[in-house]
Amino acid sequence: MKDENIILKMENIHKSFPGVKALDSVTFDLKKGEVLGLVGENGAGKSTLMNILTGVLKPNQGTINLEGQNVEFHDNQQAQKHGISYIHQELNLIDELTIMENLFLGDQPLKKWGSINFKEMRERSKKVLKRLNLELSPDLLVEELSLAQKQMVEIAKAILFEAKIIVMDEPTSSLADEEIEVLFEMIEDLQKDGKSIIYISHRLDEVFSLTNRLIVLRNGKKVAVKNTDEVDHDQLVNMMAGKEVAERFFKEETNFGDVILESKNLAGKKTKDINLKLRKGELLGIAGLMGSGRTELLEMMFGVKKIKNGELFLNNNKLHPRNTTQAIKNGLAYLPEDRGLKGLFLDFDLLKNIYISKVEKNEIITNEEKAKEPILNIIEQLNIVTPSAREKIKNLSGGNRQKAILGRWMLSEMDVLLINEPTRGIDVNAKTEIYKFLFELNKQGVGIIMVSSELPEILSISDRIIVMYEGEINGRFTRKEANQERVLKAMTGKKADLAESGVET
């Protein structure tokens, strides 16, 4: 099947990392002027594939054929010279330099005597910015730009280097709706100009509205290549997840112990009159829209945010969480939302990353060997996929990293776990394992308060649910009473039928 229109063909691409097969015989082609969606769950191999295309990684096997020629790139500079530009999710612009310096970074036009020809740089930058309808001065510092503008500058860079293929990795992840529209218009223009775009996104609606064809990866294997209009949403999700996803994963009925954490009329900057009780072995889910005060509530309990009014009791003793160190001493643990970014030491191995909070807590001299056994158990229990406990954590996939952070808390003795968005952005299997882990903690008598934006999650794994709206509790449900409709109502401020359960106050 010869096709004149095919600009790029990647054939039989294999790539292994220590202990992990990242790509297994992936083959696909890209046509001139098309937008090809690259979809798959975290760890499916999307980034690896694109890194191979752009010369950042080398494949163990396989060929890249660009416009009929087999090519091999040693770095992304070379790929760029061949007309392939990669716009990373975290944009590759240097804030301290001007737009034009970023456009020409590393390859500035020179004058006769070897000094930089700023005039030419400015002229050419203006031209390319104008082509993209950007009325920005080339002399602006990049740090002055909005995220959307930075994205446009990246695109300008691709055009400047006469890219034929532009890879965009989650370009909309931090853009506002209007900005997304502008980006989409630009992509259409690029397409009309005959440029090919590989579009990676988790947002399936975008993938459907923007792409001509789709390639689906799962566990490093190509699952399907389809014309976008031949698949629907559910089919795509199933292709990505592999099996019919068990949407619901219920917690077994457990017996609760005494009340361990109690708040009376707790109030902070955005919250007021919070009364709640948490029992040993209970998982209390907190639902609410962004800004409903759910995060502040957790942070007040952990001593991050100031308590303005009201009282907190831990095991019937009054608690004054003035700072987080004290909260940890008292037996509280908190997993914030952005732990994936901040909580890990990427250059440390898995074992150290799990061990580290133990060190902080109560040991002067660290004794990793002593802790090794329990950590190996944790790794097994959480089913962390790794070649060994000594593998650097940066070599693990997102879901496995997340599990490693959770593993940390299994080492420490805590009574109460406060957890914020435990499964954001990780795949189904990893989610299931994290749920199992939370249940295991419950069994050990730990009380858990979980904030989550994912309603199915809240509904399926909580023993009780509290719904927050504009800083106040606007609904309390037992698991049996709760359903999607009721909880949603309460989240959006409607007075839901405030169900009273036997154990609730």
Binding site: N76, D95, L97, L105, S115, I116, S137, E144, A148, Q149
Partner: protein, 322 residues
């Protein structure tokens, strides 16, 4: 929505970029004005010459330090390089043989470049913290200087010192002229050459610079070579001023060079700053030092003063950021 108010932004950049620098030079002018009014001897020719002579070595070494700090690095070996330069100069110059200057200059420059490339090499290839790497090499160089000349001594004949100390119009020594020329040269390198812009890019974000195709290791090696070379030249100026060699004479300059860069507003966060800023820092430091001298304050208090100025400068820069 993506279109910015261009004019407003240009003005904003101009202000945010240069406001604090204008303040710094305003402070310099105020110090000079104040000193001229309240200290009669300040504007006497001899004192101005002294000021310039003092400023030249500190200024030249600070120019080199600017390169290192822009890349988020630091070069703590510069003081030792200066000492070594004075020792080489004072021991290798032969009053009987005028040709010996043609040995001394290439020798000092060559040795400085070698030290710089070693610094740059171990920092970039072995991923060593610049702080540790240059502290260590500094100690080694210091030892070598002491092996060559264990106590202050040696002699710098006129044929050498004249090239640095000859006073134009009876006031302006050549050394300060060299300093001004070096400011222009380093300014040009940092702002108008690919190498210079790469220095800023690396300081801004090393990883991103790498992805953009910049050979980060090569640039870093050159940065430490530049820093060391300028330290060597500063050492020549120092030797001329002392008319002799001293194996520890450079040690205070390490702190002064870092101080001048920081006072000028170039920060350790990297990617920003430059030699015009460093010049302001050099002016402030040398003016304060000479004024304290003139009003008879003990040199010990001068150290206290320098420390306080650095703390103030750094607090100011972190306040501005916040």
């Amino acid at each position: 929505m993506l279109q910015n108010n261009q004019e407003k932004n240009k003005l904003k950049i101009l202000l945010t970029k240069n406001k604090d620098l204008s303040y710094l030079y305003l402070i310099v002018v105020m110090i000079i004005a104040g000193a001229s009014i309240f200290i009669p001897s300040f504007s006497r020719g001899q004192n101005i010459t002294n000021l310039f002579n003092q400023m030249a070595p500190m200024g030249i070494v600070a120019l080199g330090q600017t390169f290192a700090i822009i890349t988020t690095g630091i070069d703590l070996s510069v003081g030792s390089v200066m000492s070594l330069a004075t020792v080489i100069t004072a021991t290798q110059l032969d009053p009987a043989n005028p040709m010996s200057v043609f040995i001394v200059y290439p020798l000092v420059i060559g040795v400085s470049l070698i030290i710089g490339s070693v610094n740059g090499f171990i920092i970039s290839k072995f991923n060593l913290e610049p702080l540790i790497a240059t502290l260590a090499t500094g100690s080694i160089i210091n030892g070598i200087s002491l092996l060559i000349l264990s106590h202050p001594g040696g002699f710098c004949p006129r044929m050498f010192t004249n090239a640095w100390l000859t006073e134009l119009g009876g006031i302006v020594p050549l050394s300060i002229i060299y300093f001004f020329i070096l400011i222009l040269v380093t300014y040009f390198i940092l702002n108008h050459t690919r190498f210079g812009r790469r220095v800023y890019a690396i300081g801004g974000d090393e990883e991103k610079a790498k992805i953009a195709g910049i050979n980060v290791d090569k640039v870093k090696i050159k940065v430490y070579m530049a820093s060391s070379l300028l330290a060597g030249i500063a050492g020549l100026a120092l030797a001329a001023r002392m008319r002799s060699g001293d194996p520890v004479s450079g040690s205070t300059f390490t702190l002064y060079s870092v101080a001048a860069v920081l006072i000028g507003g170039t920060t350790f966060s990297g990617g920003k700053g430059g030699v015009i800023r460093t010049f302001a820092g050099v002016l402030i430091l040398s003016l304060v030092s000479i004024i304290l001298n003139l009003i008879g304050v003990s040199p010990f208090y001068q150290n206290v003063m320098t420390g306080l100025i650095i703390v103030l400068a750094v607090i100011n820069s972190s306040l501005r950021k916040g």
